[in-house]
């Protein structure tokens, strides 16, 4: 990558509105948003606020009624989702919406194959992403023979394999157990450190606190807040509360570097040692 080139914003929305046919009110209203490389945005808001609509519009799965969407500098108005496949990855809220191959291996290889990657490269990338998500033992399994949470991880692997510069994730940790949620948080954090921009719809405050730091709040289709995540969590009923360990850190005035679990645990540990 040419480090001297000015960074192209992975995602840019300008004055975007979306009106569903027959709906009395717009699903998105005049949304303007700029997401920089490496940024981690939590898309928050009550059920039905327009979060998934925004994500779908960013991936050109929906066309804005007005306004402009650009992904890695490409104006998406005349593009289809597959025209963004080399730069953007989309994880659907329900993996049933995106899994259709007969084995996990084929499922993961589908995207890179469409992109024209060489077989060796596909094999290596598939092996790497399956290893990262602890899915290697499932490689020959039919995705629909896997338990639903693991199927979600397969869908995430399929989203990550082609090394997109923009990740659009709809509820990536839903129904995962604690270990798997922590794994997904680590994977997202690693991608961000490598410059990948992440926009995730989530109700999981724990995941958001670990892996993201900017909050974009939607209410009735409009941006109600765009602020640091830790300042936004818990501020209204439709927004997830601070994760319990973060509430405790605030209540006890623990001197923490961040509200991530590790930082709070370190501060609590010191407090307990000092207090006997």
């Amino acid at each position: 990558m040419d480090v001297t080139a000015p960074a192209v914003p992975p995602l840019l929305l300008a004055g975007v509105s979306v009106v569903y046919a027959g709906a009395p009110t717009p699903a998105l209203r005049d949304v303007t948003l700029n997401v920089a490389p490496g940024e981690g945005v939590a898309l928050l808001g009550p059920n039905g606020a327009g979060k998934t609509t925004l994500l779908r519009t960013a991936m050109a799965l929906l066309r804005p009624t007005s306004g402009v969407v650009a992904v890695m500098g490409r104006d998406t108005r005349r593009l289809a989702p597959e025209d963004l496949a080399d730069v953007a990855g989309y994880l659907f809220q329900y993996p049933e919406a995106q899994l259709f191959e007969r084995t996990v291996r084929e499922e993961i290889a589908f995207g890179p194959r469409q992109l024209g990657w060489a077989p060796d490269r596909i094999r290596d990338a598939t092996a790497t992403v399956l290893e990262e998500l602890a899915l290697t033992p499932t490689i020959d399994t039919h995705p629909y023979d896997l338990p639903a949470p693991r199927r979600r991880l397969v869908a995430l692997a399929a989203t990550l394999v082609s090394a997109p510069r923009l990740l659009l994730l709809d509820e990536p940790t839903t129904a995962l157990d604690r270990a798997a949620r922590e794994l997904v948080a680590r994977v997202v954090t690693r991608r961000r450190a490598a410059g990948v921009a992440v926009v995730a719809v989530t109700h999981d405050a724990g995941f958001a606190t670990e892996a993201l730091d900017r909050a974009l709040v939607l209410e009735a289709g409009a941006i109600a807040a765009d602020a640091p995540l830790e300042a936004v969590l818990g501020t209204s009923a439709g927004i997830p509360a601070l994760p319990p360990h973060a509430e405790l850190a605030r209540a006890l005035h623990l001197p923490v570097r961040s509200l991530r679990l590790d930082d709070v645990a370190r501060a609590l540990s010191e407090r307990c040692r000092a207090g006997g």
């Binding site: 039905g48 949470p149 006890l252 307990c272």
Partner: protein, 283 residues
């Protein structure tokens, strides 16, 4: 009387090398919320599918042992008519649960009562009430296919609540819900238990379920590892030993204990269950 009895139940998916459930014996009683917790793949979802009569009938695989739901032996009775309108099964994929024939949310929720042959006035009352209890009355005229994930989950719950089931089987029902939605779900589960329904919920949300469930069954590799009171179990180490995790404050204490060795006694069990207990403990 037991609403659901699993008697030496063993189940294995076709082609699998290990049992998904192994020698499970469990009695689920009416009027209470039983919570299933386990690591990914421990068997909670499979237990619900077998109890609903969906596995092996729709999934393939082999089952031994007995499953008796609401007095009907699911193994020996191919006739499910006696169970119609009595079991509510909410799977982890709400997208796959819509009837597919309803043009509106209202019709979706009215679908089961209509098929049960209720008279129109009763259908109307029950449908409006169920939509109200899940906070989705305003969506009544919407097409189900246009709903967001959280809205869809509420509608699926309403479409079961409407026929007053005797047995609820729910797999991660809070997954797509926002905070008000989670509150409504908790109220609904408690209300249904009071009404006398038997409720089995598989959930990874230990902090949410701690206040809702009377009984916690922890699964590990398809077997019952622990069966007891959530209030007692979540303060201890046993759920963690079984690979099932526990509450956020237990997770925090355990993480903090790894930073300071030897761990200060304040970071060891019994773990606090909620914020006020945690503040008292660690102030």
């Amino acid at each position: 009387m037991s609403a659901l009895t699993l008697d030496h139940l063993t189940f294995r998916y076709a082609g699998a090398e290990v049992d998904a459930l192994h020698d499970i014996s469990l009695d689920i009683h009416a009027g209470a919320v039983t919570w299933l917790l386990g690591a990914l793949g421990a068997g909670s979802s499979t237990l619900l599918l077998v109890s609903a009569g969906l596995a092996p009938q729709h999934t393939g695989g082999t089952r031994t042992g007995r499953v008796v739901a609401l007095g009907t032996d699911l193994g020996s009775t191919p006739d499910r008519a006696p169970l119609a309108g009595r079991i509510a099964c909410v799977t982890a994929s709400p997208l796959l649960q819509l009837s597919g024939v309803a043009a509106t949310v209202w019709e979706e929720v009215a679908f089961a009562p209509a098929n049960l042959g209720w008279d129109i006035e009763r259908i109307r009352r029950a449908t409006d009430a169920a939509l109200g209890r899940l906070g989705v009355s305003a969506l009544a005229a919407r097409a189900p296919a246009t709903l967001s994930g959280g809205e869809l989950q509420r509608v699926v719950l309403a479409s079961m609540l409407v026929f007053e089931p005797e047995l609820w089987l729910l797999d991660e029902p809070a997954a797509a819900l926002d905070r008000p939605g989670r509150g409504m779900l908790a109220d609904m589960l408690r209300g249904e238990a009071r009404r006398g329904a038997a409720i089995v919920v598989a959930s990874e949300d230990a902090d949410g379920m701690a206040r809702v469930a009377e009984r916690l069954v922890v699964l590990e590799h398809g077997r019952i590892a622990i069966d007891g009171s959530p209030d007692t179990l979540l303060r201890g180490e046993a759920t963690w030993t079984a690979g099932a995790g526990g509450t956020a404050f237990a997770a925090l204490a355990r993480r903090a204990a790894t930073v300071a060795q030897p761990a200060p006694p304040l970071l060891l069990p019994p773990y606090p269950l909620d914020l006020s207990e945690a503040i008292t403990r660690w102030t």
